[in-house]
């Protein structure tokens, strides 16, 4: 009786779980990219003819260029004339081209106030900040609170169903892991504690993370229940890291002060890794701390973005990328020495995004890509064993028991799972090496079905869409660049993981962010999320 009830539950749940997951994903899309927000007006510039230019951001460029926030239609005006930014001490002018402030040549930075006149070519712009900043009341914010609450409730139902499904699986075996209910319970408790403290306001990114963590835990529970505590603790430490980084990022001047220190620490860690690292699965990218092994390169991703992004005043005044390029090289070189090519390519993509966001220079991007291709060719020519690691690429089915073993088994798992999966814990992929990390997409599809697999991936896509939508609305370009870099690196890493395990790309052995089993990966991914979240720091919150 109990057995057939359990069977019926497992049969039914396969269809309810995807419905719940799709509902959560829909709500998250609505919360993060569904709203049209009216831009706030902080001040105005009024020219001699009475034409009004509203200032809607805290960082603005004045100039002739079409990319400028305030476009001066005069042939004699410089492409970029100046930047004006709003800080704690009011407005600041950063001249770039030939301009006058109240008739005089300005210093490198000038505090400006109400009534000051900026002359750009023939235009005489008078600053008007006499009125209170207009902050539009957004009725969508109310709606988002409701959406967040609904998403949290459905997500918790989902978590209970997933945990129960795994429980039923383990009850039919001899060994029931007590870690299972404790860790799932812990996740739900931490989630509700966090959301309540935040009063469900602006928690879209965090809800995304909790969704992915749910399936991350399910993979750990199914593949190796003994790793559940470790994985759960790493998640909680990751959440803490997320909170700390978010706190620092909120304070832009503190962030700018810490950049150099963080960058130096990041490079330092990588070189330390080369000297004292241990080898695991062909890459020497682990450090054994005695009681636990960590993968430092995961954390250096955070340092890389933290130090690599810049705010507008620096962008517009220093056109020199030498320092950033050098910093990127200092991060990439150790990764090549460690033969961690997957992570190296993720850093490379992060570099491309940051360079383009900072400079808008397509030529530089093409140059970097050409250099990378030449570099890759040189490595393959000099060290043929590197190429041999990718020898079975696109030929997995011809070598199903040798080089293509992991890919073939991943595809078998995807086929066996169908749209709804064979049920929690019922998958067979767990006996294959790295199933819960490198092959985790197949793992999820086998047990929970393709719909859930696609839901998890949809969240990673949502992150980039969020970064794109928010890019022009953040408080500082620093956040725009950081969010673009973090979400782009996530997406590229997901591509390497998913397409690598299914033989559409070479198998490089990187994790799927926020899902793969592994403490360093989950912690660092949670930290990276803070950058994506920072794109939500709008101009309307002073």
């Amino acid at each position: 009786m109990l057995q057939s009830l359990a069977y019926f539950y497992c049969w039914l749940i396969r269809f309810i779980i995807p419905v719940a997951a799709v509902t959560v994903i829909y709500l998250l899309f609505k919360i993060l990219i569904g709203n049209k927000k009216e831009k706030p007006i902080f001040a105005r510039l009024i020219d001699q003819n009475g034409k009004i230019f509203p200032i809607t951001s805290k960082e603005n460029i004045i100039g002739r260029g079409r990319h400028c926030d305030i476009v001066i239609r005069s042939k004699s005006a410089p492409l970029n004339a100046a930047a004006i930014t709003l800080g704690e001490n009011g407005w600041t002018l950063h001249p770039v081209g030939d301009i006058l402030l109240n008739g005089n040549e300005p210093e490198a930075t000038e505090q400006i106030g109400h009534g000051d006149i900026i002359t750009v070519a023939s235009a005489e712009l008078t600053l008007d900040d006499s009125r209170d900043p207009y902050i539009p009341y957004d009725k969508n914010d109310e709606l988002n609170l409701v959406r967040a609450k609904c998403a949290a409730v459905v997500l918790t139902m989902l978590q209970v169903m997933v945990a129960l499904s795994l429980t039923i699986h383990y009850l039919s075996t001899d060994a029931f892991p007590i870690q299972l209910p404790i860790c799932f319970g812990g996740l739900v408790a931490a989630e509700w504690l966090y959301l309540s403290v935040k009063k469900f306001d602006g928690v879209g990114i965090e809800l995304c993370a909790f969704f992915l963590c749910t399936f991350g835990l399910s993979v750990a529970a199914s593949a190796m229940p003994n790793s559940l505590y470790k994985q759960f603790i790493a998640m909680m430490l990751g959440l803490l890291l997320f909170i700390v980084i978010s706190f620092v990022l909120k304070n832009l001047s503190l962030t700018m002060k810490l950049r150099y220190a963080v960058g130096i620490i990041g490079v330092g860690i990588l070189f330390f890794n080369i000297l004292f690292g241990t080898e695991l699965n062909g890459a020497k990218n682990w450090i054994d701390l005695g009681f636990i092994t960590v993968q430092p390169s995961e954390f250096v991703k955070i340092a890389y973005i933290f130090a690599g992004c810049a705010s507008l005043d620096r962008l517009i005044t220093t056109r020199n990328f030498l320092l950033f390029t050098g910093f990127s090289g200092a991060c990439l070189l150790p990764l090549f020495i460690m033969r961690d090519f997957g992570t190296a390519s993720i850093f490379f993509i992060g570099m491309l995004i940051i360079v383009f966001m900072r400079s808008g220079d397509l030529k530089a991007i093409i140059l970097f890509i050409v250099a990378a291709i030449i570099g890759a060719a040189a490595i393959i020519a000099l060290k043929p064993y590197v190429a041999s690691r990718f020898a079975t690429y696109l030929h997995a089915w011809e070598n199903p028991y040798s080089g293509g073993y992991q890919q073939v088994n991943t595809m078998i798992a995807i086929g066996s799972g169908g749209l709804f999966g064979v049920g929690g814990g019922e998958g067979n992929l767990d006996t294959i090496a790295a199933a819960d990390t490198d092959l985790v997409f197949g793992f999820i599809v086998e047990e929970w079905g393709l719909i859930i697999g696609l839901c998890c991936v949809a969240i990673l896509i949502l992150f980039t869409l969020y970064a794109i939508k928010r890019a022009g609305m953040t408080r500082s370009v620093y956040y725009s660049i950081a969010a673009a870099a973090a979400s782009g690196m996530f997406l590229f890493q997901a591509a390497l993981n998913i397409f690598g395990s299914t033989d559409l790309l070479p198998l490089t052995g990187v994790t799927l962010p926020l899902i793969s089993n592994g403490g360093s990966s989950i912690m660092a991914s949670m930290g990276m999320l803070a950058f994506i979240k920072s794109a939500g720091l709008g101009g309307d919150t002073r």
Binding site: I61, I412, G418, L419, L454, I461, I468, L491, F492, A495
Partner: protein, 450 residues
């Protein structure tokens, strides 16, 4: 800030590229998912290269032909049941591609693209066949040492009662030779049709010539076409279609074929299913072949009596017999009667499905009468006790010095036992000999089911 908005579109490129990749992956998993899932390394269903998590295959009486016991896949314990139904159910290692075990692995394991292998762990689905192990046994014993194929089906409902291919083997024993034993000759082979092809020529004549029944041709131990002789066994002199079919006169049918012309004969052969493969439960059979383009007149004469390059597949012939018996429109043969889940819920059953009208009802009834006359006047009704057989023999010349293949095709015209049959025995000599005997023994066994 505006330029950030523009530059962030760079990220959109990544997102679009990623989405395309994801779409490609979904597309692949949809088109190749069944191939991925049925790969022998899949431990959801396989054990040592054998699909074990699959339901039972039973014959029409519920006799178990294949089942899983204690995690091992096993065949029927009865030797003759095992060897005579082997090609229908297929071996478990997958050498017999057309067998149900291989071709319908998805039905047996409960796999489909949407729900994956969820139901495989509870034992998959049971498949009940329309085939009778007893009739199969009789047919295989009757064939004796001859290679060949026997097929019998109910031309009113479409149920295959018997499908046997010889040589066969005992799948529970190790075998080291494979002289075509993995091929189901009923589905995957094609033979020269010999005189049985005269039925096709007769259909083309009855459909196109107004005087088909009355026109006569002369037979003088054959006939001469463009200076070449087409031989006939006897001197039949002047005869009509009815007499010529009964006596299987080569001279008559070669002259008739020449008068019909290559185009007409080709058209009717194609309409009857030549040059396209028949299917049974989605399993594709080998296509019958005929190509009369650019043919010499004398060769058209040979073709009209089945001795040119024509090749006939037994299943496609069975369908033509069904059409003659069933007023020009055949019921398509099937062998899966029903599919039930492990809990006994019926999730699929075959239904009677017709071909298009292959030829007119009048043609069918006239030919039926002629075939009946052929049996009563030439072969003798006493050889088929209790049945009213309409049939045609064939003795298909293969090569000089090699004994010809023996054909016997037709149907029983009694409504209470509506069975059509095709028997072919390789290198067994005249059709009136081995093939006719095998057909009778098989039909006598099949008759017991009605």
């Amino acid at each position: 800030m505006k330029q950030m908005s523009l530059r962030s579109l760079f990220l959109l490129l990544f997102t679009v590229a990623f989405s395309i990749g994801l779409f490609a992956l979904c597309y692949l998993s949809f088109t190749n998912g069944d191939a991925w899932t049925s790969f022998p390394a899949n431990r959801h269903i396989y054990k040592n290269g054998v699909i074990v998590n699959a339901g039972d295959i039973t014959d029409r009486d519920g006799k178990i032909l294949a089942t899983t016991e204690n995690g091992e896949r096993i065949y029927s314990p009865d030797f003759y049941t095992r060897v005579s139904t082997l090609h229908a159910i297929g071996d478990f290692k997958g050498f017999i591609k057309t067998g149900i075990s291989t071709s319908h692995w998805d039905t047996l394991t409960g796999y489909n693209r949407a729900t994956g292998l969820f139901s495989a762990k509870s034992g998959g689905n049971n498949v009940k066949l329309t085939i009778s192990a007893e009739v199969n046994t009789t047919a295989l014993k009757a064939l004796g040492n001859y290679s060949g194929a026997v097929g019998v089906y109910n031309y009113k409902t479409g149920e295959m009662l018997c499908m046997v291919s010889s040589p066969t083997y005992d799948p529970t024993k190790d075998i080291n030779e494979d002289e075509g034993i993995y091929m189901n000759r009923f589905l995957s082979s094609s033979y020269p049709p010999g005189s049985t092809f005269k039925l096709i020529t007769a259909i083309a004549a009855l459909e196109t010539l107004d005087d088909a029944e009355t026109r006569t041709y002369f037979c003088d131990h054959g006939t001469t076409v463009d200076g070449e002789i087409i031989t006939c066994m006897s001197k039949h002199s002047e005869m009509t279609l009815r007499e010529a079919l009964a006596k299987s006169c080569n001279a008559y049918f070669s002259q008739l074929a020449i008068d019909l012309g290559a185009e007409t004969l080709q058209k009717y052969a194609d309409k009857l299913g030549f040059n396209s493969s028949a299917e049974i439960d989605g399993i594709k059979a080998k296509a019958s072949r005929i190509d009369l383009s650019n043919i010499r007149k004398v060769d058209l004469g040979w073709a009209g009596m089945g001795q040119y390059t024509d090749l006939v597949n037994p299943l496609s012939y069975l369908t033509i017999m069904g059409a003659i018996a069933n007023e020009g429109r055949a019921v398509k043969p099937y062998m899966i009667e029903s599919v039930t889940t492990a809990d006994g819920i019926k999730i699929g059953s075959s239904s009677t499905d017709y071909t298009s009208q292959l030829f007119s009802k009048t043609t069918a009834n006239k030919l039926k009468e002629m075939m009946r006359y052929t049996v009563s006047s030439t072969y003798g009704d006493h050889r088929f006790p209790g049945l009213s057989i309409c049939a045609k023999t064939g003795t298909a010349e293969v090569d000089d010095g090699i004994t010809p293949h023996s054909w016997f095709v037709g149907f029983n015209m009694n409504d209470d036992c509506p069975l059509a049959f095709v028997v072919v025995a390789e290198n067994a000599g005249a059709g009136v000999g081995v093939a006719r005997t095998v057909a009778n023994k098989t039909l006598q066994a099949a008759k017991e089911l009605y």
